[in-house]
Amino acid sequence: MALPLPPASNLHSILLVTKSRSLGPRLVFHYPPLSPSAAALAANKAPAWFGNDTSTGSIASHSDSSDWDSSTETEDDIEAGSRTSGGRGSGRTTASHREKDRHRPSPGVWGRQESVDEEDADGEDGEGKAAGAGKEKGGDYDWHTVLGFQVDALEKMLCPSKAFNKRRFELGVEGIVFVGAPRFVRDDGYWKKPRRRKEKVAKENLEGSVIKLKVTDSDEDPSPQTVSGSASGRASAEPFEYPVGFEPGYGHGLMSGAASEAQSEAGSDTRSNSTTDNAPDMTMFNIVFVLNPPALEYQLRVKEMYDNVARKFAKALKYEQARHNYIWKESKRVIDIKQRAKENGEPLSVTWHQLINTSLLAKSVAIMFDAISNDKIAHLHFDKHFSTSFQIPQADSTPYLPNALEPQMPGLWLTTSNVVIEEDDYAPMTQHAALLLLEDAETLVKELEGDSKGTTTGLAFYVRTITPTKSLQKISIKHNILAHDMMNIAGHLVYWRRARFIPPLHPRDTYIVSPNADMSALQAAISAYAARFPTLPSLPKILSMLSGTPRPWRTMIPTNEHREAYMEILAWLMRGGWVTQLRTFAWVRVTVEIKAQVAADMEREAREKKIEEERRREMEDNESLSERLFEGDKRTSWMINRPSTPMRRRQDEDHTESNIMLSPRQGPYRGSPARPSSDAGSTSSNRTTIAASSNHPPSPSAQQAKQTQPHRPSPLHLKTTSPSQAPTMAAPFSPPTNPLNTNLLSPSLPSPPLSLQNFTPSLVLSPQKAKEKEARWLEKIGQSFAEEDLRELWPMLLRHLDGRHAIEDIAPREGLKRKRVWNLFHGVRDGGWLVSVRHW
C-alpha cells in the first residue's frame, strides 16, 4: 500500500455525446460552457503534491526547472496552440472553477511545455475562428469549438463503434484524456432487457456486444474494468447494502437495487416511449469526462474517474433512458435551445444558464461537474423517484507519514487503526470501533432531512445515538439497535464522508499532536475552536499540552466536571486530524535463559524418548506391557503440553536453534566439535527470528546486570571478519543433519553444552504462526509468570504481541476490562519479555 495521493479529480469538462438516426453524432451538452483549450490544459499538469505551501523561491524554481528538462520540445507546435477555444474564456473559467489549480508547469511531465498563454490564445483566436460565427469570435460567442476542438470533429471522435458498448472509452489527446462510458441501444430497440429474460443476462450481453471483434470474449471478462455498469453488474457497484427502508430516507443513497426494482414496473413499458416506431432514434450516448491528470497519476486518476463516476453515471442515465426516454427527450430540448441561441447569436453563458434551468439533464451534468471537479460529492435528482450520489472516494486515514520528498496530505488522519490486517480471524474491528461524525449530529440530521422528502426520523435517531466514545457494539446494545443495522448505517456514513471509524476515545488513552496535522489550517482552526469551546483553554494551549512526553488524556482533564467537555475537545481535535492516538505495539522477546531451559527440556525429552523406545523395543513381545508404555508415552507428551511429534522434527528444530546461536558469520567455529550441526535449516530460522549477535537483553530496566555484556567483546564475535564469508559457508553445511540425529540419539555422545553463552536473545515476530521451537519458548515464558491471571491469559495476550495489533485494542476485542489488560501488559513488560514501541 502506498501513500494516498491528495484528492484531485483533474476534471475539466463533462461532455454528453449522442448518436441518433436523425441527427448523427451530436455533442449535446458540455459543461462548463467555456473551458480552457486542450492545449492549455495539457500544459498545466503539476500534481498538487506539495500543497500551496511553496515559498517564492521554490515556485520560481518550479517554473524554471523546465529548462533542465531534456525532453522539452523546442519546436513550437503552433497548430496545437492556435486551437484555443475561448481563449479569454479560459482565463475566466480557470479563475472561477479552479482556483485550486495553480499554474505550475512541472518539468516536462508531458514532455512538452506547450506554454499556451492566454495572450497567445487571444492573439491567434482570430485566425482560429475565421470560419466561426462571423460577427464575434471566440470566448462567449464561440459556438463552434469546445476545448479548442471543432465541435464536429469532436463529435466524431467521441462516438466509438458499438464494440465499445459498456466498456471504458479512453481517448488521449496530448496531455488530456477523454474518459467515457458509451452505452448503445440494444439490437431489439430496447435500452433494457425485457424483464422476463433477466436470467439470460450473460447471453444477452454477449449478443449485444459481439460485433466484429474477434476478441469479444473478453467482453464478459469478469474483471472489474470490463464489467461496466451493466444491469448484471449492479450489485458489484454498490459498496453497501442497506436495510430496506433506509435508502429512500437517506436522500443521496446509491442507486440501490431496491429502488430500481421498484421502478422497473414503470420501466417495463418503456417501449411505448422510447421506441414509438420500434426503431429508436438515439442509438448511443456517451458521457465523457475530460481530465488532464499529471503523467505519474494518469492511470490512477483515470481509473478512479471511470469506476466511480463515469461508469455509474452512465448506468444511471441509461436506467432513466430505459424508463422514459430521458436522455433523448432532454437532449432534443437542449439541442433545440442551443440551436436557437446560436442563430440569435446569444452568448454561451446566458444560454447555458437557461439550459440548466430548463433541462434536468443539463442541470445534472452541471451539478456533477461542480461537485466532482471540487472533489466533493454530487447529489443528483433525476426525478422524484430516483436520486443518487456520486463521488470519488477519498482516503480518510493513512498509516504512513510522508517525508519531505513524498506527496503531502496535511490534515489526513494518521493511524494504523484502519489498516486491515489480513489473516485476522477476528470479527471485523469495525464493530469495536466508534464512529466519529465529521459534522455535528444535528447538522447532519438537518442535512439528511433536507436531502430527502421521505421520513428520516429513523436515521436521525441512529445518528443521534452515535458517540465517539462508545463502540458501535455498545451503542447498538444500549439503544437496542440491530448490530447489522448499525453497521450498515455506519458504513454508509463513512462511505459518504460523514463519519470515520476510530478506536473509541477514552480518557485513559494517550493522544499526541499528529505529525501530519495541517499547520496552515491552524489559524482558522483556532477561531473555530474558540467559537466552539469559548471557556476552555485555547487550541494552541491544548496542542501544547499534548506536545510533551505523551500522557494519557485524562491527565489533561483538570476536574471530573470537565471530563465531558474535554472528551468533546478530543473528538473535535480528532475530526480535524490534529491529534492521533498513540498506540502500543509489542513483540515477545525471548531471553537466553528461556532458550537454554527449553533446549535442556528438549534434550531431556529426547533422551527419555530414546530410553522409552529402547524399552519398548525390549518389551516388544509383551503386549500388555507395551500398552502401559504407550500410556506413559502419552502422559509425558501431555505433560509438556505439546502434541507428540516425531523425533526427527524436534531435532531439526533444535538445529535451527543452534544455528541462530552461531550465525553464519562465525566462520572459525564451524568446525568446532561442540556444535557440529550448526547450519541445518538456517534459512527458515533466519527469516523468523532475529539473530542478535550478543548476549545483550534489550530492556534496560530489566536485568540490569546483563547490561555490561554487550560492551565486552564476546568471544563469539572476536574473530568475526567480513560478511563475505557467509555465502561461502552455506553450501558445505547443508548435509550433516542425519549424522547429527544419530549423534543425539545415542546417549553415549556428549550432548551439546547448554550454557547461556550459546544463546542469543531474539524476538518472536508473530506468535500466531510460531514455529514449534518458538512456541515452546513462549510456553516456557508463560509458565514463568508468577501471577495466576497472567499465566491464564498469556495465550490470549500472545495473539496481540505481533507488532501489528495495538495493545489498546485488546480490551474491546477480547471483552476484558481495560485496566486488567494494562496490568497484564505491564506485568509482562516489566519482566523484560517485551520489546514495545508506541506509534499511531
Binding site: S61, S65, P107, G172, S218, Y400, Q408, S527, A530, H696
Partner: protein, 574 residues
C-alpha cells in the same frame, strides 16, 4: 521501464481510395491478420474499430493520440502533410506503438512516438522517405498478401525501422538508427519523475549517489558545481549556500534539481535538542533483519575510539567528514567502509553494534524526549554508534520522524494578560473584541496603517513608563499583538482582523519602536520583531533559526520574551 513493454509497432497510411491500411507491422499479424508464417495467430485488437483514432480528422493530426482497446493502449501521432504532389494534396500516416493498457509510465513511450512522428514528417518532406516506398503498392488490390510481403521482406526501410525500434527500445530503452547522411533517429525512453518538493532553507540534503566519482562534469550549472562539495547530510541548505558562497534561492533550485533526479534525500537539521520518534514503519524495521544489518553497518563508528563513550556525529573526525564529503550515504556505504576497513581491520568488528541493541535504542526514542536525554539515558548502549547516523538512518528509511517544534501565539491569551501590564493597554483592552482572530476582511490592511499610527502615539505615552529598562519596555510593547486590533475596534470598524495582518502590524510597530528607543537595541529589536511573524504555527524552530541565523536557545528565549507575562506563545510539538 517494464521489460519488453512495446507489444507492437505499426505504420498506417491513409489512401484516398482504399482508406486506412496497415502497411507495416511488427510483429506480423499483430494488427491485421497476416499470412506470414511467423505471424501472430490473432491480432491484438480489431483494427477496424479504431481507424478513426489512427487516421483522425485533420483537427487531431499532429498531436499525440492515445486510445485504449482490448486492454492495449495504442499511442500514435498521426501526421498530415499537405502538399500538392500528393493525390488530394494530402499525405496522412501514423506511426504507432502498442503497449499494455496498464503500463504506468506510458507517457515515456508517447514522447518517443511524438518525436518519431515529427522526424518522419521531416524525412518525408525532405525527400519523400515514406512515399517513395509506396510506388506500386496501392495499385495491386492484393497488396496485403503480395505487396505487403514484398515490402516487408524486400528491404522496406520503414519496416526495418519498425523492427529496429521495437527491438532496441524493448531491450535497451534507446536506439540510434542512421537514415541517411544527414539524418539519424535517436530515441530514448525517459522515465517520468515526480515533481520535486519545495526546498526550504532548513532542509539538509544528503547525496544518495557519489556525484564526485562522475568523470564528466555533472552540469554546467555553476551553483551546482560549487555546492556539491558541501552536501554532506549535515549542512542545511542555507549553510551550504553560505559555505559555497552562492545565492540561497539558486542553491535551493540546484538542490531541487538533485532531488528531481533522485540524487539527494532531504533530512532535518541534526541537533541534540531535537526529538525523534518512531513511525508506524518501525515494525518493518524490527521484522526485517537485512535492514537491521544495513543499519548496523551504517551507524557504527568506523574507528574504535578508546575511552570515549559516545561519538557525536557532528564532531566527526576529519577523515570521516571527508568520506561524507565524497558522498557517503546509504548507498555508497559499502565503498565507504571499503575505504576505512583496510586501515582498521580489527577494531571495526568490535564496534559493530548488535542488532538487538539497535532495536532497543530505536524503540526507546519517543515523543517528548530530546536526543540529549535519550543519549544520557542510553549511554551504555550507544558505544560505537554514530548518533547522527543512527538517527538519519531511521529518518531515511522512514521509521523515525523528527518531531518539529512550532511556536504558536495565542492572541486571546495575550490580550487578557495585557490588562495586567500597561495602564494604557488596560484601557484599550476593555474594547478588545473577543473574536479578533477571526477571518480576515479586506478592511484589515487599511486599518493596519491606522493601528500603526496609534500604536506609535501610544508608545510615546508609554515611554514615561516607570520601567527603567528600555529593552524590556520595548519588548513589552512588542508583545502585544492586540494593539492593532484594539485600535481597529476603537476606530469603529467592526470587521475582524486577520492574524497575519496583526502580526505584520505588530512587526512594523516593533521596528519603529526599535528605532525610537535606542540604536543599541536595534538588532535585538528587529530580531524579536521579526520573530513575531513566525508565530502562526506554520514555522518550526529549525526554520526560524535558519531564517534568523540565531541559535535555537536564543530564539526560544526571545520567543518566550515575546510572551512576557502573558504566556501567549506556546510550543507545539508535531
Amino acid at each position: 521501464m517494464p521489460p519488453r513493454a512495446i507489444k507492437a509497432i505499426f505504420f498506417t497510411r491513409f489512401h484516398h481510395e482504399k482508406g486506412s491500411r496497415v502497411l507495416h507491422q511488427v510483429p506480423e499479424g499483430s494488427i491485421t491478420p497476416s499470412t506470414s508464417p511467423a505471424a501472430l495467430s490473432q491480432p491484438l485488437f480489431a483494427f477496424d474499430s479504431i481507424t478513426t483514432y489512427l487516421i483522425p480528422t485533420q483537427q487531431f493530426c499532429d498531436r499525440l493520440l492515445t486510445f485504449c482497446v482490448n486492454h492495449y493502449r495504442i499511442i500514435g501521432y498521426p501526421v498530415c502533410i499537405r502538399e500538392g504532389k500528393y493525390s488530394r494534396n494530402e499525405f496522412i500516416f501514423n506511426f504507432a506503438i502498442v503497449v499494455e493498457e496498464g503500463v504506468a509510465d506510458w507517457v515515456a513511450y508517447g514522447e518517443v512516438v511524438r518525436k518519431l512522428g515529427r522526424l518522419l514528417r521531416g524525412l518525408e518532406e525532405q525527400a519523400g522517405f515514406l512515399s517513395r516506398e509506396e510506388v506500386g503498392v496501392w495499385e495491386d488490390e492484393g497488396w496485403q498478401r503480395e505487396g505487403g510481403r514484398l515490402l516487408s521482406g524486400g528491404g522496406s526501410k520503414v519496416y526495418a525501422l519498425c523492427e529496429m525500434i521495437l527491438e532496441d527500445l524493448n531491450n535497451y530503452a534507446e536506439c540510434m538508427i542512421p537514415i541517411d547522411e544527414s539524418n539519424t533517429i535517436n530515441l530514448k525512453l525517459f522515465p517520468t519523475h515526480s515533481p520535486p518538493p519545495p526546498i526550504h532553507a532548513h532542509h539538509v540534503p544528503l547525496l544518495t549517489i557519489s556525484l564526485h566519482s562522475l568523470t564528466s562534469p555533472l552540469s554546467s550549472d555553476l551553483t551546482l558545481t560549487r555546492i556539491i562539495p558541501f552536501i554532506n547530510g549535515i549542512h542545511s541548505v542555507s549553510h551550504i549556500a553560505q559555505l559555497a558562497d552562492t545565492d540561497l534561492s539558486l542553491t535551493r533550485k540546484a538542490i531541487q534539481h538533485l532531488v528531481y533526479y533522485n540524487c539527494v534525500v532531504l533530512l532535518d537539521i541534526f541537533s541534540f535538542g531535537a526529538v525523534y520518534a518512531p513511525t508506524a514503519e518501525i515494525g518493518g524495521y524490527i521484522t526485517d533483519q537485512a535492514v537491521q544489518e544495513e543499519c548496523a553497518r551504517y551507524v557504527r563508528v568506523p574507528r574504535m575510539r578508546f575511552g570515549s563513550g559516545v561519538r557525536m556525529g557532528s564532531e566527526s573526525t576529519p577523515s570521516q567528514s571527508r568520506d561524507r564529503g565524497r558522498g557517503s550515504s546509504l548507498s555508497s556505504e559499502p565503498s565507504d567502509t571499503a575505504i576505512n576497513e583496510p586501515a582498521y581491520p580489527s577494531s571495526n568488528a568490535d564496534a559493530t553494534p548488535t542488532l538487538e541493541t539497535l532495536i532497543t535504542l530505536y524503540t526507546s526514542l519517543r515523543q517528548g524526549v530530546t536526543l540529549r536525554t535519550f543519549v544520557l539515558e542510553n549511554l551504555s548502549l550507544l558505544h560505537g554508534i554514530d548518533i547522527r547516523r543512527f538517527v538519519t538512518f531511521g529518518v531515511i528509511k522512514g521509521f523515525l520522524y523528527r518531531v518539529h517544534k512550532y511556536p504558536v501565539s495565542t492572541s486571546t491569551g495575550s490580550r487578557e494578560a495585557h490588562g495586567v501590564n500597561g495602564k494604557a493597554a488596560a484601557g484599550l483592552l476593555v474594547a478588545a473584541p473577543l473574536g479578533s482572530t477571526g477571518t480576515g476582511t479586506s478592511q484589515a490592511s487599511t486599518v493596519t496603517l491606522q493601528g500603526q499610527n496609534q500604536a506609535e502615539n501610544r508608545t510615546e505615552s508609554a515611554n514615561p513608563n516607570p520601567n527603567p529598562n528600555p529593552r524590556s519596555q520595548q519588548r513589552l510593547n512588542n508583545h502585544r499583538p492586540s494593539i492593532a486590533s484594539t485600535n481597529l475596534h476603537l476606530a469603529g470598524i467592526a470587521g475582524l482582523e486577520k492574524q497575519a495582518d496583526m502580526a505584520h502590524a505588530e512587526a512594523n510597530t516593533a521596528a519603529r519602536l526599535g528605532s525610537i528607543i535606542s540604536s543599541r537595541d536595534d538588532r535585538e529589536a528587529d530580531l524579536s520583531a521579526g520573530l513575531v511573524k513566525f508565530l502562526d504555527g506554520m514555522h518550526c524552530f529549525d526554520e526560524i533559526c535558519t531564517e534568523t541565523g540565531v541559535g535555537e536557545g536564543e530564539v526560544e528565549r526571545r520567543i518566550k520574551g515575546v510572551g512576557v507575562g502573558a504566556g501567549d506563545v506556546v510550543v507545539v510539538f508535531r
